[in-house]
Symmetry: C2
Subunit: 305 residues, 2 copies
């Protein structure tokens, strides 16, 4: 009879296709993880993984085992959580994936507030603007813009927020202020990469008619926070959520552009796995962030033309 930790490890190895990566995540050495996996395979008398030095792939048998192992572990996790829940305790680890800019500059502080109230809660934040697989990421919650289509996920909408074009006053003084989205092509454009390719279609609306402009960037990167920093440094025009730039605009460090051509607002959603009823700590975090978003809305109303 094997150790539950070994099962958890095997599941993560299957998710990440890597012993080392799983070991790092679970805070153990690769050697120890390798030994644990072999232990498990030996006890099951079955080779779960087909190994090449560079890649771990589940065997057919391994697939079946890991699948139901995942179910069982989820049940057990739920049972443990339920115990803590009943006592109304907020303890344990909370793993959250966040968009880089929103995460660093706004949500991080909110979550710090939450953990100040609940000191037994351990926070693990994963910043990034790539829409990675929630299972692979192994987080409880992922905060993401836009509609998610993965049906295995539950979602809770926190807000709907406009995307806006912004640039620094210095840049605009030098290069002029575009008065229509079509004029953007004559500007330096700062793009966010999603996946491998820049996200180069910006959405606006002209008298309620959708208007999409396709742009080539003078700079692009995969981190939304860096895009904003470029904009602040006068490197060009960025297309950001109002969430991300409200404060800078209020302070006058960034300037709103093309507010007559705002497209429909984009939802900001919190997604989580459907496999388990969210535990007390997760539910609390969801509600907390929902409150904070509401407060944000009234503190920073988007200046309408």
């Amino acid at each position: 009879m094997y150790h539950l930790k070994d099962l958890q490890l095997a599941i993560r190895i299957a998710d990440l296709h890597s012993v080392s990566a799983a070991a790092r995540e679970l805070g153990m050495t690769p050697a120890s993880a390798s030994a644990a996996l072999q232990r498990l395979e030996h006890k099951l008398n079955c080779q779960l993984f087909a190994r090449s030095t560079r890649n771990m792939q589940l065997t057919e048998e391994g697939q079946a085992f890991i699948d139901t192992g995942r179910q069982a572990l989820s049940l057990l996790q739920g049972a443990s959580d339920a115990l803590a829940d009943k006592r109304g305790e907020l303890r344990g680890e909370l793993r959250i994936a966040l968009p880089s800019d929103l995460g660093r500059n706004r949500v991080r502080a909110w979550l710090d507030e939450l953990t100040a109230q609940a000191p037994e809660l351990t926070l693990r934040l994963y910043f990034g603007d790539q829409l990675d697989d929630l299972i692979e990421q192994n987080v409880h919650l992922a905060l993401r813009y836009g509609e998610l289509q993965d049906s295995s996920l539950m979602r809770r909408q926190l807000a709907r927020m406009h995307r806006v074009a912004v640039a620094s006053p210095e840049y605009l003084d030098r290069h002029g202020r575009p008065s229509h989205p079509q004029q953007l092509s004559q500007h330096k454009i700062l793009l966010l990469n999603r996946g491998n390719t820049p996200w180069h279609k910006w959405r606006f609306a002209d008298k309620r008619q959708p208007l999409e402009v396709e742009l080539t960037g003078s700079k692009s990167c995969n981190d939304g926070a860096v895009v904003k920093e470029w904009a602040l440094a006068g490197e060009g025009i960025a297309y950001k959520s109002w969430f991300d730039v409200a404060q800078e605009v209020t302070e006058g460090r960034l300037e709103l552009l093309l507010t007559d051509y705002l497209a429909e607002p984009i939802p900001l959603q919190l997604t989580y796995l459907q496999t388990e009823y969210p535990s007390h700590k997760v539910r609390t975090c969801i509600e907390f962030l929902k409150q904070k978003c509401l407060a944000f809305d009234s503190q920073y109303p988007l200046p309408k033309p």
Copy 2:
């Protein structure tokens, strides 16, 4: 994160209301089991059991935890079994509860045949004529006479077999042969105890009409094998399944009585828990016993009048 063995132990402690009993069953010392339980409770940060020195009772929280723990463990067991199944291997432990007489004198030999063919299979037999709780007994299969009413159990009928009254020729020579069930009350009667009270109503039939006679025993015990030994020793008349006495009757050591008044045959059933799809080893055992019962039927046909 706790050890799976600790969960299994906790489940058995909950079933048996005893650390020691669970420890004995799982082949560990009470001290080690106690330590393991405390380890688990500590890791869950929750008292699973309300303890008195003499009795372990699940707390409300413990109940919830053990319930889903049981599910999870069953899933995991199933996953492990499935691995062995796929390879068509017959290995692991097989725990079977058997009626005392049938078990000792017939099925044991059959099962020895099975394990001779499958040497990796470990047999654990539990003899007894008390219809104990299958969950509490923790067996894969229980062989029982009669209709079971517990709906959480699956059943497979192995045979239908008549109950017959038997006694040794010596006894009958001395006390005479009853020619009608009603005359049994003038005889020495050997009864089987089920639960605390003797099972003193014997069923016959007179021209297809059920005929039940209520008897007082001159001897009774809770073990069917002992009842047969009494009958062989000429202590009186016993009421047994034809399975149990076919060989002795064929050899002339017991004599069939009242064969004109046989009641409906009673089913012999193999019951197992519904929680898991039976594993390969369990299915194999079921089929094997079914075959053996069929072979028995043709080897020892009940002599009809």
